[in-house]
Amino acid sequence: MAAIDFKQVLTDSLALAKTEAGSAFNKIKPFAEHQFQQFAEDALFLANLKIKGIIDDEELKSRIQLQKLALSNVLLAIKGVGIVTAQNIVNGVLAIVATAVKGAIKVALPI
């Protein structure tokens, strides 16, 4: 029975994890930066309207509520993409292991 090259499995798995995580980070970073910066600018703009007496408390409350809902949605998206990334890494590693098993003992695993 041929042996599995565990060192190679580990190397391939780490390379896959690095690529997947890097790709996810490159997607999330510009999205998050843009959204967080916009949130900060818009919150400041609304605070200025209130200070200048242009809007009252009720209007400020509604418009900040819109900002909070938007930011929550952005954070949910980031969380979701993070979970998709973890899922891709786990499935990628499973595929690497299956390939190694098949190569070593000619058994195809049902992945």
Binding site: A3, I54, L69, A70, L76, G80, V101, I105, L109, I111
Partner: protein, 152 residues
């Protein structure tokens, strides 16, 4: 002894490798397409509304003048909420996102119903940004789920 270890290892790996894991689902083509169209519709609506709050006519921005858009919006919100209601339990994040988008619109609608006055220096772009961010968040996750986020 060595053979036993190899066999045990093989079965362990087989058990681990016997399935594809699914931590998150929630991609839905109708949801994806509807939300993208809703974003365009909203921005067309907002451009028209913004024009009315930057002139000297205090009546042209009234809610009633935009009833047609809001009727279509309510129908679209019903559609996307119905789509997410049939998604499985691993689609909770997508369901929560659609709930937040729905809540955002209800805050916006209530604000418009109360009245948006003509005002120099406040074109309500922060509200437009907020709604667009909610749309973008849903679209961003749908894009990521498109290849791997469908239920098994």
């Amino acid at each position: 002894m060595k053979n036993k270890i190899v066999i045990a290892l093989f079965f362990s790996l087989s058990l681990v490798a016997c399935f594809t894991v699914k931590f998150i689902t929630g991609y839905d083509e109708v949801l994806d397409q509807t939300v993208n169209r809703m974003k365009t519709d909203f921005n067309v609506h907002f451009i028209k509304l913004a024009r009315t709050i930057q002139d000297n006519d205090p009546n042209n921005q009234k809610f009633e003048n935009f009833q047609d858009y809001y009727d279509h919006l309510e129908a679209d919100l019903l559609t996307i909420k119905a789509r997410t209601s049939i998604l499985d339990g691993k689609a909770k994040i997508v369901k929560d996102q659609v709930e937040k988008l729905d809540s955002s619109f209800h805050v916006f609608i209530a604000m418009h119903k109360r009245g948006i006055p003509d005002r120099v220096g406040d074109d309500h772009h922060t509200d437009q940004n907020a709604i667009n961010s909610s749309f973008d968040a849903v679209i961003f996750l749908q894009e990521s789920l498109k290849t791997t986020g469908k239920p098994n």
